[in-house]
Amino acid sequence: DAGVTQSPTHLIKTRGQQVTLRCSPKSGHDTVSWYQQALGQGPQFIFQYYEEEERQRGNFPDRFSGHQFPNYSSELNVNALLLGDSALYLCASSPERQAYEQYFGPGTRLTVT
């Protein structure tokens, strides 16, 4: 049983560009959350998707958007990239009624130059 998978592993973008990160949840999980982790910091909650709808959102600007597909996979889009968006982006999945126990993927390392 594959766990949470994310692609790509690493990504380098230029300021002002747009990026799309992808996540496939663990089998049987229908809820997907995205987190941003800056170097030396704990992960920060971006938003959560359930039943293809954004259910909760953290303190991130509208440049951060997402989508969940019928197969529960998800995308994170970031527009107008800033240098400060450089971070590890983590996807986590869980069953809808067990969201305290989230399974994290290995993350996508985004570098904005």
Partner: protein
């Protein structure tokens, strides 16, 4: 969600028991306490969750006093592979899904 305070770093030696204490003075009645572990270049991993008294699983034990204003994660007989960052989280269970991570405690296990 309740704010948590935990030591920035701890050192230990192989074979020792490690106790990491987290303070959460403003914990609400409905809040559960959850601990995650994160190795370098990996996503966090759920370790244990509890509400009161003591919870034990194959990885760790969690001790919560009656006033629930703090909690202690206990790792028995640590090995080098337990070197990681440990996060204490406080919040609701169920379908909120909004995990609030602090800076965590970096545990360094030495040979």
């Amino acid at each position: 969600l309740a704010k948590t305070t935990q030591p920035i770093s701890m050192d230990s030696y192989e074979g020792q028991e490690v106790n990491i204490t987290c303070s959460h003075n403003n914990i609400a009645t409905n809040d559960y306490i959850t601990w995650y572990q994160q190795f370098p270049s990996q996503g966090p991993r759920f370790i244990i969750q509890g509400y009161k008294t003591k919870v034990t699983n194959e990885v760790a034990s969690l001790f919560i006093p009656a006033d629930r204003k703090s909690s202690t994660l206990s790792l028995p007989r640590v090995s080098l592979s337990d070197t990681a960052v440990y996060y204490c989280l406080v919040g609701l269970t169920g379908n909120t899904g909004k995990l609030i991570f602090g800076q965590g405690t970096t545990l360094q296990v030495k040979p």
